[in-house]
Symmetry: C2
Subunit: 218 residues, 2 copies
DNA sequence: TTGGGAATACCAAGTTCTGGGTATATTTGA
DNA sequence: TCAAATATACCCAGAACTTGGTATTCCCAA
């Protein structure tokens, strides 16, 4: 039997969910909480469920912060968010902090139980509409692919600059003279339209001009 | 009727998918392609489907590049990837380039038709296992949350520095003296362990020390 | 084969940064 | 309330950056 806890300050709704869970033949809900702090206390005592269903809008610590706090105590606990919010910000934050499911409160009993089953089976649960939003977040963060006509050598030097290296250091690394590096730097500035080192680094990282940019998938 | 095109260099598999689609009562598949270039030609002629099912490993231009090229011609076309690859890199690239569904080749006929229906209904299709991977990408890119004990004022100045502004410019903006800004900069350098402006900017952006970091959700 | 892009190298002046200080108000938390 | 943290401000010397030049060599594509 999958042990489930609920964090939900609307007692009536909380009871409904509990009933749905307890009427299923695979899950049990032993505890209902109205705030995150009480959950943290229980977890600290070593008491632990398999899955926590949590609201986001909660008195005191909100659900997003709650995910972080809960995972800090026990990162094995799977968390499914159950909320009315469907904005990108909330979805993004919940997933970033380690949620493994995101349900809207208009979900049916079947959908809720299905989401639980998915998470038990090692998957992540999100409906097609919310998935569309998640997908669009990825497209939004896509690199702009501007190249500004940076040459190979310039690109090499750009990478060193972004690392915080000085012109003299780069000259030593590339076995050329500081003047040469300086000329390349000058040309890079002209090409990407900046006139400070910091502006260069900022633009290079944000526009993905450097190989080791923002984040990488490994 | 939803018009579907298939891009798949394995003719036998392509035919199977076509049969599945044509046996359904909502979709038709009129064209099968074995490479992306032929698809681009058709699109350029103004001929257009509702959804394209595409493989990733294709002769010539691969499926990921294909998504980009297709969207460049007609961004209304929905694209579902149908592949054997389930690595983060491929999934990430496909979604970033605008795919609205990601199916593995071991999917059943029902799963394929369901994915198509989801996309037609304006959602995005991904199974629970792959969703888990997508979710983990978000957690992976999570900001490290190191603060280095940066104060409010320092943080404000840090933001200007990352914008490429000079000490003098910042002094004017914040209505303080350049010396004061310089002192703050000095303290920031000490706190986050850097000794060049570029190193500062690089670290600040990559570790999410600035508000407008990497990417934002709007 | 030849013109142009790319990489190399140097000069110089003015600006900005870096790191070493010192010092005083103001705010804030214990 | 009182010490600590924060924000303010200044000095200075050496290093690094920025911007304006000029010039040669190398390689590649037309």
């Amino acid at each position: 039997m999958t042990k489930i806890w609920i964090i939900e300050d609307n007692i009536a709704y909380s009871h409904i969910i509990r009933t749905i869970i307890n009427q299923s033949d695979c899950c049990t809900c032993e505890y209902e909480f109205t705030n995150v702090v009480d959950v943290l206390k229980q977890l600290s005592k070593g008491n632990t469920p398999d899955i926590i269903l949590t609201d986001i809008n909660l008195p005191g610590m909100n659900g997003i912060e709650g995910i972080k706090a809960i995972k800090a105590i026990n990162k094995e606990v799977e968390i499914i968010v159950l909320t009315v919010f469907d904005d990108n910000e909330k979805i993004f934050d919940a997933i970033c902090n380690g949620a493994n499911g995101y349900l809207l409160k208009n979900s049916s009993a079947e959908e809720i139980l299905e989401a639980i089953q998915i998470v038990v089976d090692g998957g992540s649960s999100i409906n097609a509409g919310l998935a569309r939003k998640v997908f669009s977040m990825f497209t939004a963060m896509k690199k702009t692919e501007k190249s500004y006509g940076i040459t190979k050598r310039e690109s090499e030097i750009l990478n060193y600059l972004v690392d915080g290296k000085t012109v003299n250091e780069i000259a030593k690394i590339t076995f050329t003279s500081p003047q040469t590096v300086q000329t390349h730097v000058k040309n890079i500035y002209y090409k990407i339209h900046v006139n400070t080192r910091s502006g260069l680094v900022s633009k290079a990282i944000r526009e993905g001009l450097v190989t080791k940019g923002g984040f990488t998938m490994n």
